[in-house]
């Protein structure tokens, strides 16, 4: 009990000091300095109408590369932790589908989910959304599929191929920028096109598509691992 009180006091101290700090920078105040530059020049420089996308993929595209790597690392980590030998994996085939409605429903919805996800990441530079969101939606489609048909397996080597290929695409696109006179990684070397058109803003959509594939493959992989963990090794100590 004393522990709880003491730590509550500690946490209150931390919160109080944070409040004190942020009192100097009130909510709603315009704190932009670089942000302003993005708002003013973003459209001209990147051709993307969604400035957040131009920040995420272009100006701070390197962060996104890191983010992709983090996700990749997490997927690999989960795969390591939930590693199951080949013969155990076959247990999944014996699983029976739970419910007729789920089976039929998911079969109907699944293509639409895929389509929706694709839509999201293709239009990342125009509307809110992008590779991550789209990828996550596609992965949720796979989740649905797993729920309906626990026996289905994804071809893991094909998944990691997609993963790898998408990552390679991202990096190779970036590296191509080094060949440009600017000699800068992730330089947007394709024509910017017309604002608010689907085929605009150079490499941004391509990268977002690659990210979309990658994220979808990775999340699907994670879900697959977790399914396998539950089904193939359920109850095993």
């Amino acid at each position: 009990m004393i522990r709880k009180i003491v730590y509550s006091i500690f946490l209150a101290t931390i919160v109080l000091s944070l409040v004190m700090f942020f009192a100097a920078f009130p909510f709603g105040q315009n704190k932009m300095s670089v942000g302003e530059y993005y708002l003013n020049h973003g459209v001209a420089q990147t051709g993307a109408s969604n400035i957040v996308t131009s920040v995420v993929v272009d100006y701070r595209g390197f962060d996104t590369l890191g983010e992709v790597s983090v996700l990749f690392g997490a997927a690999a980590g989960v795969a390591i932790l939930f590693f199951v030998l080949g013969e155990n994996r076959r247990k999944r085939r014996e699983q029976v589908a739970p419910n007729f409605i789920v089976r039929v429903g998911s079969r109907i919805i699944f293509p639409f989910i895929l389509l929706f996800g694709t839509y999201i990441f293709i239009h990342g530079h125009l509307t809110p959304g992008g590779g991550f969101q789209g990828g996550a939606i596609i992965a949720s489609g796979f989740l649905l599929l797993y729920l309906a048909y626990p026996g289905t397996t994804v071809n893991r080597s094909r998944l990691s191929m997609v993963e790898g290929l998408a990552g390679i695409t991202f990096i190779v696109l970036g590296l191509y920028g080094l060949l440009m006179p600017e000699s800068s990684f992730l330089y947007n070397f394709l024509p910017k096109g017309e604002l608010n058109a689907l085929l605009s803003s150079g490499i941004l959509p391509i990268i977002y598509i690659a990210i979309g594939f990658k994220v979808a493959a990775e999340f699907a992989g994670i879900i697959d691992d977790m399914m396998c963990e539950v089904i193939c090794r359920g109850g095993e100590k």
Partner: protein, 496 residues
């Protein structure tokens, strides 16, 4: 043509190989084994190509997305960063060779991908010039490390991995809060830009942000009392991973602290605050190492102690102190990585991590034990090994300020060095002069594991007997840092 002396390649090439490993695993199992070697081989070459550039200009700045730094993320390699990048790349290269013979557990391709990612993240942390990018790099490193610590999936490694993950995740969040506070104050994320725009903030305001960043990075950097994950995680991980974690990852986090402190928070009070942590780290690391029965745990605690030592050298806040810190970093990185590799090879032979089981190994695994001894001597600071030069420099630098605080610290450092000697000699004499009770079937480590050890051993011996270039380079790097050349040159070259 492409200019290969581009810092960004240091990150991008290994990252490309990470994805290549994932891609290739669909076709071939064995390709993954060798891809990291190629990746870090290229990295070593790029780092070497950077050396003349950095020496000429003092700093190489690389932009992304074709925009100047405050607008886009930049990568900066100055002497100090180059110093660490070379260490990281060489270690990555060498340990990748070791992995080929060492790793024999599934899923291999995931291991290699994560391993490559780990070192990529470390290099990323070192050369990034952007605060949020630092956070991302920090997370890349952490995530890779979490997965690798749990690689064996046994009781110990899973527990260690989870503890590390929780602490690392808290640390990452705190780091992010600190960065966001700076962003709120300045509206920018570039380190140098933040430094300039935050000049009008009071020390008090900055200090909270600093403390959060410090805690976040300090968790990774093994500063007491934030380092409790380390003695669990290092032994649990495969030895090749421990060698990277110990050798360069904690160092990279400490480097990030050094860099941020130096650029944004250059206040005397902060150095005092840090010195306190450095000494505590040193004391508790070394004392705890004394009691260990598990050899890798002992080395892990020793890493904490060494971290405290070079962090202390940094907090002396003088060119000499920094030079000492950098020398100690080199010493620790090379020696400790080598020790972990050797110990890994020995554990494979002995089948146990208990120190008692290492009795008489000096007569059975002669080459390995020889390099183990060299590494330990260097860590203890025994001449003529490199550790002696670095310890000499640190003590000399500390006593340049002859106040009671410094003299007390020096006494503590030397006492802890005695403790360090106590446990290293205990191990050494057990290995070389102890007699095993029953005769065991122990052979010398396999060739593939010996080669990396020998490479590192010769690097250590080389810099021990010919330290001048390293000393000079460290001195230049230190004076650059003290003179804030990083800021000045980046402003000039990068057009910030």
């Amino acid at each position: 043509m492409v200019n290969l002396a581009n810092p960004i390649l240091l990150i991008v090439i290994p990252l490309l190989f990470v994805f290549l490993i994932a891609f290739s695993s669909a076709f071939s199992k064995s390709a993954a084994k060798y891809l990291p070697i190629i990746a870090f081989g290229i990295n070593v070459v790029v780092a070497m190509l950077l050396v003349p550039e950095v020496l000429k200009n003092g700093l190489v700045l690389s932009t992304t997305a074709g925009f100047k730094p405050p607008i886009a993320i930049d990568m900066i390699v100055d002497k100090l960063a180059l110093f660490l990048v070379i260490i990281a790349s060489v270690l990555g290269f060498v340990v990748s060779i070791y992995n080929v013979a060492y790793i024999d557990e599934e899923p291999e391709e995931k291991f290699y991908a994560l391993f490559t990612l780990l070192i990529t993240g470390i290099i990323w942390m070192i050369i990034t010039g952007d605060l949020f990018n630092l956070f991302v790099a920090f997370e890349v490193t952490s995530i890779a490390a979490f997965g690798l610590v749990g690689f064996h999936r046994d009781k110990g490694s899973v527990e260690a991995g989870f503890k590390y993950l929780v602490m690392g995740a808290i640390g990452g969040s705190l780091l992010l809060v600190g960065i966001i506070m700076l962003y709120a104050a300045t509206g920018t994320l570039n380190i140098i830009d933040v430094a300039q725009k935050s000049a009008e903030l009071t020390f008090q305001q900055k200090f909270l942000a600093y403390a959060l960043i410090f805690v976040g990075l300090g968790i990774e950097g093994a500063l007491f009392p934030l380092n409790a994950w380390l003695p669990d995680a290092h032994p649990a991980a495969p030895s090749s991973v421990s060698s990277i974690l110990s050798g360069i990852m904690t160092t990279a986090a400490i480097y990030a602290i050094i860099r941020i402190t130096n650029i944004i928070f250059d206040y005397n009070q902060i150095y005092l605050f840090l010195m306190f942590f450095a000494l505590l780290t040193l004391i508790f690391g070394e004392i705890a190492a004394y009691y260990q029965k598990d050899i890798k745990r002992m080395l892990a605690y020793s890493t904490i102690g060494q971290t405290g030592l070079f962090f202390f050298a940094f907090t002396i806040h003088s060119t000499n102190g920094l030079q000492g810190a950098f020398l100690q970093i080199i010493n620790h990185s090379v020696s400790k990585s080598m020790l972990f590799l050797v110990v890994g090879a020995m554990i494979v032979q002995v089948g146990s991590r208990n120190i008692e089981d290492f009795v008489g190994l000096g007569r059975k695994m002669k080459v390995s034990s020889f390099f183990l001894a060299i590494g330990m001597f260097s860590l203890m600071g025994m001449p003529p090994f490199f550790g002696f030069w670095s310890k000499l420099k640190i003590i000399f630098a500390a006593l340049q300020h002859s106040n009671a605080l410094m003299i007390g610290s020096v006494v503590i450092i030397l006492l802890m060095s005695v403790v360090e000697g106590a446990y290293f000699f205990k191990l050494l004499q057990m290995m070389f002069f102890g007699k095993a009770e029953q005769d065991r079937e122990i052979k010398e480590a396999s060739f593939g594991m010996l080669v990396p050890v020998v490479i590192l051993g010769f690097i250590l011996l080389f810099i021990s007997f010919y330290p001048t270039p390293v000393l000079d380079f460290a001195h230049q790097a230190a004076s650059d840092l003290m003179n804030k050349n990083y800021i000045n040159l980046a402003l000039k070259l990068g057009g910030l």
